[in-house]
C-alpha cells in the first residue's frame, strides 16, 4: 500500500473504510459455507442444541459415515455425473455446428434462422406444454430425456455465434485454398481458435447440469435415475418431517442438521474444485453474450 502516500488523509479514510466494507461482503458470502461445513463435523446433539456458530463442536464424522453408507447417495452421485458429462457433450454437439452455420454470411435466410433461435429467449410455452411434450415424446423417466431435452439454449448459441463472427476471415483463407470444406474449416480453424468461448459455454453447461433440480424432480420418478440435487431435496424434506431422527439416541452422534450439512458439503466439493478454473472464463463469457443478439 505504498502508493497510498499519494493520497490525502480523506482518501486514506475512504480507501480503508471501503476495504473493510468489502471484507464484510466477502465474509457474508463465505460464512454460510463455513457454518454448514462446521455443522457437518459437529455431533448431532450439539447441532440440535444450536451450539454450532462458527467452528465444529464435539467433532465427529458420524454424519458423513451415515451419508456415505447410503447406497442411494452413490447412485444419485453417479447419475449427476452422467447427466453433467452427457448433457454438456450433447449441448456442445448441437451448439458448435449451429452457431457456426448462423455465423456464415452465405447462409440463406440467416436473419430468419437467427430469429428462430433468439425468439426462444423471449417467449417460451411454459411448464405445462413443455412437460406434456416430453411425455408425448416418451422422454419421461429416462436418462436420454434429461440429456437431450435441455441440450440447446438460445443464449449459448448466440454467445458462440458472436465469437465466431469476430474471428478474422484471414484465418480460414489458407484452409479454403487447400480445398477444405465447411466441416473442416469449422473443426480445424474455428474450434481451435474459439477454445476460450467454447470453454465458457462448456462451463455454463456443466454448472447448470450439476445444479439442475426442477425438471429432474418433475420428469424422473425412478429412484435409480434421480440426480444428487433431487436426492438432497428428498433427504432434507423427509428428515425435517421426521423430528425424531437421530434425536432418540441419548447422545445422538448425528442429526437431521448434520446429515443435511454433510450431503451439502459432498455435493459442493466438485463445484469448488472446478471453480478456480471457471473464474477465468465466466467474466468474459457474460460480456461476450450479454449485450447484443
Amino acid at each position: 500500500m505504498a502508493n497510498m502516500n499519494l493520497y490525502s488523509r480523506g482518501d486514506k479514510i475512504f480507501v480503508i473504510t471501503n476495504m473493510v466494507l468489502i471484507g464484510m461482503f466477502a465474509i457474508s458470502a463465505l460464512y454460510p459455507f463455513i457454518y454448514i461445513a462446521s455443522l457437518s463435523f459437529s455431533s448431532g446433539f450439539e447441532a440440535r442444541a444450536g451450539r454450532v456458530v462458527l467452528t465444529p463442536v464435539d467433532v465427529t464424522i458420524e454424519a458423513y459415515r451415515y451419508v456415505l453408507s447410503d447406497p442411494q447417495f452413490w447412485i444419485s452421485y453417479k447419475n449427476t455425473f452422467i447427466y453433467t458429462i452427457g448433457g454438456t457433450l450433447m449441448s456442445l454437439a448441437f451448439i458448435i455446428p449451429g452457431a457456426y452455420a448462423l455465423s456464415r454470411p452465405q447462409l440463406l435466410g440467416r436473419r430468419f434462422w437467427n430469429l428462430t433461435v433468439a425468439f426462444t429467449m423471449w417467449f417460451n410455452a411454459g411448464l405445462i406444454p413443455f412437460f406434456l411434450n416430453m411425455r408425448d415424446l416418451g422422454l419421461l423417466d429416462s436418462y436420454f430425456g434429461i440429456i437431450i431435452g435441455f441440450a440447446v439454449n438460445g443464449f449459448n448459441i448466440i454467445l458462440l455465434r458472436n465469437f465466431f463472427e469476430s474471428v478474422p476471415q484471414s484465418f480460414e483463407e489458407a484452409a479454403r485454398m487447400d480445398g477444405a470444406n465447411e466441416f473442416q474449416v469449422l473443426w480445424k480453424v474455428y474450434v481451435p481458435l474459439s477454445k476460450p468461448a467454447i470453454a465458457t459455454i462448456a462451463l455454463f453447461c456443466i454448472v447448470s447440469r450439476w445444479n439442475g433440480f426442477f425438471w429432474a424432480m418433475v420428469l424422473l420418478q425412478d429412484d435409480d435415475k434421480i440426480p444428487l440435487q433431487v436426492f438432497l431435496r428428498h433427504t432434507i424434506a423427509t428428515l425435517s418431517d421426521d423430528q425424531e431422527f437421530g434425536a432418540t439416541l441419548f447422545d445422538a452422534s448425528y442429526s437431521f442438521e448434520t446429515v443435511s450439512a454433510a450431503i451439502i458439503v459432498c455435493s459442493i466439493i466438485p463445484v469448488l474444485t472446478i471453480y478456480p478454473f471457471m473464474q477465468k472464463y465466466f467474466e468474459k463469457g457474460i460480456l461476450l453474450g450479454g449485450v447484443k443478439e
Binding site: D11, F33, A101, L108, T120, F123, A125, V152
Partner: protein
C-alpha cells in the same frame, strides 16, 4: 422488388438485427414479387424446408459469396437456389440439428399451448381434445389463488428490484476502489461463488440456518434474549428471507457487468480529475457514476422487463402451505395445479397468460432501451 428497410414486419422483434443486414436488404434484389408479403406473414415458428428457405431468400446474404438472381422469374430463382444448395449444403447440415431440436422441444410446446383453450383429456391428446374457448381464463381470473399468486409475483419482484438492484452497483464501485489487487481478486472470487451453488443447496442452507431449535440465526437472537422464531412457517418472514437470499446469491455475480462498464471509462477523465485536485470520493461521484449511468439504465429496464421472472425453483424449495399466502407465485401455482394436480389445461392457461405478459414487457423494455440508448438486447 426490393424490401424497403424502413418497413419492418409488424412484429417488433423482427427488426433488422444490425445495420449491415439492413443494408444488404436494400441492395439485394429479392426473388419474385410477393416474397415480401410472404416474409411478413411468416411466423418465426414457420416450418423449415423449401418454403422456409425461399421466403427469406436474400435477406441475410452478403454480396461476395452469394450472387442472387436478377428479376428473371421463379424458374431462374429456383435454379440459382439449387446451385447454392449444391455448393453450400454443408452449412445446412450443420444448422439442421439445432433447428430440429428447437422445433421439437421449444416450438412444438408452443403449438401445445392450445390446451389452454381446450378441455384437455390425456386419452384424446392435445389435438383431439374439444375446444372450450376462454373458459379456463374466466376460471383463472375468478380464482383467488391465481390472483394472489399474481400479486405475490409482482410484490416479490418489486422488492427484489428495489433492494437488490443497487447492491451490485455498489459492489462494483467498491471493488473499483480497492487498490490492493490480491485483496480485490480474493474478495471478488468469494462474492461470485454463491451464484454457482444450486438452489437446492442454498435452500438447504437457509432451512438449516433459520431452523427454530438448531439454526444459527435463532442462536444469535438468543444472545439478545429473543425467543426462537420458526421463520419459515411465518408468512410475514417469507419475502424478506427470499429476497435476501436472492441478493446474497446473485449480487456479486451481477456486479461483473458494472465492473466491465467501469473498466471502459477513459483514464483521461480520471487524470484530469486528479489535476483538478479531486478526491477519490469526488471522482467516484463525478466521473465513475456518470460514466456507467447508461449501463445502469439498461440493466434497470431489463430488470423491469423481467418483473414476472421470480426464481420459482427457490420458492418451491422454501415455501410451505403455511406461507402460501405471501409466497405462492404464478409459476409455483402452475406447478401445483398442473403437474401435481393434473389440471393441465387450466394450468397451461395460467402459463400462457404469464408468458404473453412477460413477452410484452420484455419487448417493451427493449424498445425503450433502444430509444434512449444505443444498446439493446437485440
Amino acid at each position: 422488388m426490393s424490401v424497403p428497410p424502413t418497413d419492418p414486419p409488424s412484429d417488433e422483434g423482427r427488426e433488422p438485427a444490425d445495420a449491415e443486414e439492413g443494408r444488404s436488404r436494400r441492395v439485394d434484389p429479392v426473388l419474385p414479387t410477393g416474397t415480401a408479403a410472404l416474409e411478413r406473414t411468416g411466423a418465426p415458428a414457420a416450418a423449415p424446408g423449401a418454403s422456409g428457405t425461399l421466403l427469406s431468400t436474400g435477406i441475410g446474404a452478403s454480396a461476395d459469396d452469394v450472387t442472387p438472381p436478377s428479376r428473371q422469374g421463379v424458374a431462374e430463382g429456383l435454379k440459382w437456389l439449387a446451385r447454392h444448395l449444391r455448393r453450400e449444403w454443408q452449412l445446412y447440415v450443420l444448422l439442421a440439428p439445432t433447428i430440429i431440436w428447437l422445433l421439437l422441444f421449444l416450438y412444438k410446446p408452443m403449438y401445445g399451448l392450445q390446451v389452454a383453450f381446450k378441455d384437455y383429456s390425456v386419452f384424446r391428446g392435445v389435438a383431439g381434445s374439444p375446444w372450450i374457448g376462454f373458459e379456463h381464463f374466466q376460471t383463472l381470473f375468478a380464482s383467488d389463488q391465481f390472483l394472489r399468486a399474481l400479486k405475490n409475483t409482482v410484490i416479490i419482484s418489486f422488492y427484489s428490484l428495489l433492494i437488490g438492484f443497487p447492491v451490485p452497483i455498489l459492489l462494483a464501485l467498491m471493488f473499483n476502489e480497492v487498490l490492493n489487487q490480491t485483496y480485490k481478486r480474493f474478495s471478488q472470487t468469494v462474492v461470485y461463488l454463491p451464484h454457482f451453488i444450486s438452489s437446492v443447496i442454498i435452500a438447504g442452507i437457509v432451512i438449516t440456518a433459520f431452523s427454530p431449535s438448531a439454526g444459527v440465526i435463532n442462536t444469535m437472537l438468543g444472545w439478545f434474549g429473543i425467543d426462537p422464531i420458526y421463520f419459515l412457517t411465518k408468512p410475514e418472514w417469507f419475502r424478506p428471507i427470499f429476497v435476501g437470499t436472492g441478493i446474497w446469491q446473485e449480487a456479486g455475480f451481477q456486479s461483473i457487468v458494472y465492473l466491465a462498464a467501469i473498466s471502459g471509462v477513459s483514464p483521461t477523465l480520471y487524470e484530469s480529475a486528479v489535476i483538478d485536485g479531486a478526491s477519490r470520493w469526488q471522482m467516484m461521484w463525478k466521473v465513475t457514476i456518470p460514466s456507467i449511468l447508461p449501463t445502469i439504465i439498461i440493466m434497470l429496464i431489463i430488470r423491469i422487463g423481467n418483473i414476472l421472472e421470480v426464481s420459482f425453483e427457490m420458492v418451491i424449495l422454501l415455501y410451505q402451505p403455511a406461507t402460501y399466502e405471501t409466497a405462492d407465485v404464478v409459476n409455483t401455482f402452475i406447478y401445483r395445479q398442473g403437474i401435481q394436480a393434473g389440471q393441465y389445461d387450466f394450468a397451461a392457461a395460467a402459463g400462457l397468460f404469464n408468458a404473453v405478459v412477460a413477452f410484452v414487457l420484455v419487448v417493451a423494455a427493449n424498445s425503450i432501451s433502444k430509444r434512449y440508448s444505443r444498446t439493446s438486447l437485440w
